[in-house]
Amino acid sequence: MSTSPAKIRPVAGKARPAPGGRVYNFNAGPSMLPLSVMEEARAALLDFAGLGAGVVEISHRSKEFLALVEESFVLLRELLAIPANYRILLAHGGGQLQMSMVPFNLIAYRPARKALYVDSGLFAARAFEIGARYGYARVIAQSRDDDYAYVPACDRSWLDPEASYLYIATNNTVMGTRFQQFPDTGDLPLVGDMTSEILSRRFDVSRFGVIFAGAQKNLAPAGLAVVLIREDLLGHALPETPRILNYAELAKDSHSLANTPTTLSLYMMCLLLRWVKQEGGLPEMERRAERRSRLLYDAIDRSGGFYRGYAQPAHRATMNVTFTLRDEALLERFLAEADRAGMYALKGHAARGGVRASIYNSMPSEGVQLLAGFMTDFQRRAG
């Protein structure tokens, strides 16, 4: 009994410039992971913790697996400085299932069942549409009319005291913008979708009522979401909330394992959190993110208009750099040549087009230097 043999043949004519004979992977998520993490996980597929069984073959309730979850919780608390009155929850699905879980769990926090949204990008808009299914959702600020090139200002006087929460996407993956500062919402719980930037910058968790992040960018492989929630926001779920989507149910179990979780993602999250700590924690992740994104933004800004950034400079993200070429006829050639040079998945989101370089925590600075150099070289040859 066997599976057909693996056919690993490097695609002809493509460079493999990254460590381990791999490419620099600019995909927006699922995204590139550190080679050391990948190598450790590879060994654990067949034998984890000396058990003689692979990490995806053991019970999520085994002591070896529970130890991984406990360690992850300790690391998350430490790295993000999570206050004691916040719970860490583990959920199935990614960020998009959270767009339903937030209203399921929070829209009834206040009797008016109102929710406020900032429409700053594609996923924020989707969250608003979903929220409207469960109560009275309203957009209080938007940049849709300006093609989402910035994050709209959000004045405190626009906040409705009867609302249950204000929802923002702190980093807009498709557009490449981010909230440089987070709005002050007073008593109104602030909900932040940090899927594409968690662990890349320092911030004050206590500004938020709920923070969630799909794992597949900076935390782990896809299939998992991490939720941080202030304790007093638990217990307001609509009665029709499925048990597995109910924050209070997820909080009941000390390891937040309401059912069998996606064990590979949880295991790899633990490895990734160890890696972040070992590399210097959030201050270092933030410093690297600034440096990486500056290299690319400088290449755009110095190109005399050959490259055009989508995001307004004051609103630029450090995780997703989006731009196009003045002469869009050159776009396909740009992408094809970059791909051949070992820079994978630079094509922009279908809704935006152009180029998107997603440079999450795991992207080595060499990958970004390679891209910045390629941009200069391409302009010289084609400009």
């Binding site: 690993i8 990614g94 492989p221 979780p261």
Partner: protein
């Protein structure tokens, strides 16, 4: 590397060695891309090919009729409980669903469904400690019900439906989490057959539903898109970022089943494995007490006890020392549970049978 154990855990569970080796082999470099299958977009051509292959192999191996769609969602069987009710409760106006209570997870499924309509428990084996599948009289089924839910194999107590009931026109919904792909099944008997992947279809975090077309389109308004059968099947289950690792592993497992001879060969192998273990238990009737009534025994989960809790604990510990891993029963049930899914080789069942004999000789 440490000696590979025979892993009897109930799920996530033992996988075929060739599947794990293949995953290791291409772990850093999938399809020659220079990136891992877990590092690429779920919408990339390379990953879409994986999804299509999973759909194709499921159709081929399970002989899924053309008027059935496939929907793969996040979460395991437990989210599947909610999905059934959210998608089907409103199929008929009465918003009523019938549930057969044959074990712990059947009860869980019914509790979830009660959030969305009227749930009627039409049969239960709780009075006999879930040692059997309760009898059912099809003629008495309420034809106004939107569906009838059964758990085809009861993981915790070790019983299964040997044949599936006639339902008097009510769509039959089967939770086959702990036995899908272990035997040929007549899909046409079911309106929906669903299963968490972490026993016979790969790794955890994924559930797969096979849904008859005419049952689509009745989801309640509050149903998230990511757990809506119709939406998922239209999107080839790529409605949002999918659990790419679990889908990839499902492909490897399905390929392994196919090259092993398909479900007929797997079925015969499972019959041999279960017979080895049950026959060993039945050789020592005064010592071991199998939980399930012989006519209702599961071939995937064998549950039994020794005369005392102390001996149960000794059985688990001594078994573990001999490379028979995770034989402890579910915490609600106690005793022992040997889960012998597709990934358990015949030698594992033989080793367990030998240990059952030996332990009874030493302690009996």
């Amino acid at each position: 590397m440490n000696r590979r154990v025979f892993n009897f855990t109930a799920g996530p569970s033992m996988l075929p060695l060739p599947v794990l080796k293949r995953a290791q082999e291409e772990w850093l470099d999938f399809n020659g891309l220079g990136a891992s299958v877990i590092e690429i977009s779920h919408l990339s051509p390379d990953f879409k090919e994986v999804v299509y292959e999973v759909e194709r192999l499921l159709r081929e191996l399970l002989r899924i009729p053309a008027n059935y769609r496939i929907a793969m969602a996040h979460g395991g069987g437990a989210l599947g409980f909610s999905m059934v009710a959210l998608n089907l409760m409103a199929l008929r106006q009465a918003r009523k669903a019938l549930y057969v209570n044959s074990g712990y997870f059947s009860g869980r499924a019914a509790t979830e469904a009660a959030k969305y309509g009227t749930v009627v428990e039409i049969a239960s084996s709780e009075p006999t400690g879930f040692d059997r599948i309760p009898a059912l009289d099809p003629g008495t089924l309420d034809r106004e019900a939107s569906y009838l839910h059964i758990t085809t194999n009861n993981t915790m107590v070790g019983t299964r439906w040997q044949t599936f009931p006639d339902t008097n026109g009510v769509p039959l919904v089967g939770d086959a989490t702990s036995e899908i792909l272990s035997r040929p099944m007549d899909i046409a008997r079911f309106g929906v057959l669903y299963a968490g992947a972490q026993k016979n279809m790969g790794t955890s975090g994924l559930n797969v539903a096979i849904v008859r077309e005419d049952l689509l389109g009745h989801a309640l308004h509050i149903t998230p898109k990511m757990i809506n059968y119709g939406q998922l099947s239209r999107d080839h289950s790529l409605t949002n970022t999918a659990n790419t690792f679990a889908i990839y592993m499902a492909r490897l497992v399905l390929e392994w089943i196919q090259t092993s001879g398909g479900l007929e060969a797997i079925d015969a192998q499972n019959e041999r494995k279960a017979a080895l273990v049950y026959e060993a238990l039945d050789r020592h009737t005064g010592f071991y007490k199998p939980h399930a009534h012989p006519a209702h025994r599961s071939r995937m989960n064998v549950t039994f006890k020794t005369p005392s809790e102390a001996l149960d604990a000794a059985f688990v510990a001594e078994g573990n020392a001999e490379g028979l891993y995770a034989l402890k029963g579910h915490r609600f049930f106690g005793g022992m549970r040997a889960s012998i899914y597709n990934g358990m080789p015949l030698e594992g069942a033989r080793a367990l049978a030998g240990f059952i004999d030996e332990f009874a000789r030493r302690h009996g």
